[in-house]
Symmetry: C2
Subunit: 202 residues, 2 copies
């Protein structure tokens, strides 16, 4: 009946990674996880991590992933600001494809501080979810704090999600056949009949 | 296989309430929802709302709740800052009891701006979940932004969760009998046997 909680009789406290928050059921975001965060991460039962920096993953983190059977998806996006490197659209699109695949959930997205690269990826996800632009940008800014960047907002605004939608539809068709849309409609009709058996018989 | 998404062929965009974020599976937080946010709120399939202000709920919002079968739990906490009113511990405790009861989920917590009253309630929930204090305060500050208040941090730090834990245990006992802890252990043993049928027969 109640939320499952850790029993703190043994005095264990959970240290979340910096800038941690929940994005959706089975999707989390944060700054770079440190070994002190591993206990916290275990409670999320992660299946995968999307890591958005080009630097190699630290040995200690790799060991944690191996011990907990967590798959690492690395998309090396430069974080340098001098000179500023533009966010690579194709790489973000590839990361999005991994992110929306529920076979990879629960999943944690992180870069270094969980602000810019992570913020752009989550912003693009929100566009796919039909969030209006001001809602998307408010969430980006809340997580970036005083470090928010105008060029990230522009990247999110101009990011084209049509190619992702096409990719998603092609996956649906591959798994469900080209009658997918029609079948979904038929299922809905069946449900209506189940809900209203008397009306259906008339 | 993929996240369920709204089909935006009809151009509908979803406007989240101000300062919206997800707290846990089935728990959301935000500022005061406006009519323009009702479409967004529908996608959350809410069962309840915890409203933390003393002011009556607007007629338009009440109609939305009724039409969508959403239960309202109101805990009138004063938000005045001149003079500052202390956060009432008993009221926060009562709200916490509603919040951790999964029969009320999915649930949205909101006050006016989703910063102070909502931030204190979520902070207390995190303590119940054994989050360390610095993680709790980081989350509070991220959502309060520049408006964060020292006295809220002090309230969260000194909030005593022992009485809530006692209440939760009494609920567990009421629903599961006093053999609850022992039965849970037995269930775990049974699961081990199911996983290792050969070993169990030896």
């Amino acid at each position: 009946m109640c939320l499952i909680m850790e029993d703190d009789d043994d005095g264990v406290v959970l240290v979340s990674p910096s800038n941690f928050s929940m994005v959706e059921d089975g999707i989390y975001r944060s700054g770079f996880p440190q070994p002190e965060n591993f206990g916290f991460l275990k409670t999320l039962n992660l299946r995968s991590i999307i890591y958005l920096c080009p630097e190699p993953y630290p040995e200690e983190n790799l060991k944690f992933l191996e011990a907990n059977n967590i798959k690492l998806f690395q998309f090396g996006i430069e974080g340098k600001t001098d000179p500023p490197t533009p966010m690579p659209k194709d790489t973000v699109l590839d990361a999005l494809k991994v992110l929306v695949d529920v076979r990879n959930h629960p999943i944690l997205i992180h870069c270094k501080r969980g602000k810019h690269r992570t913020g752009c990826l989550v912003g693009c996800l929100r566009k796919v979810q039909s969030w209006c632009l001001s809602s998307v940008l408010e969430e980006y800014q809340k997580n970036a704090g005083l470090k928010w960047r105008q060029r990230d907002l522009k990247f999110i605004e101009t990011f084209d999600i049509v190619s992702l939608r096409q990719c998603l539809l092609s996956i649906m068709y591959r798994y469900h056949g080209y009658g997918f849309k029609r079948r979904r409609l038929l299922n809905e009709e069946e449900n209506v009949q189940k809900l209203k058996p008397q009306a259906a018989k008339v």
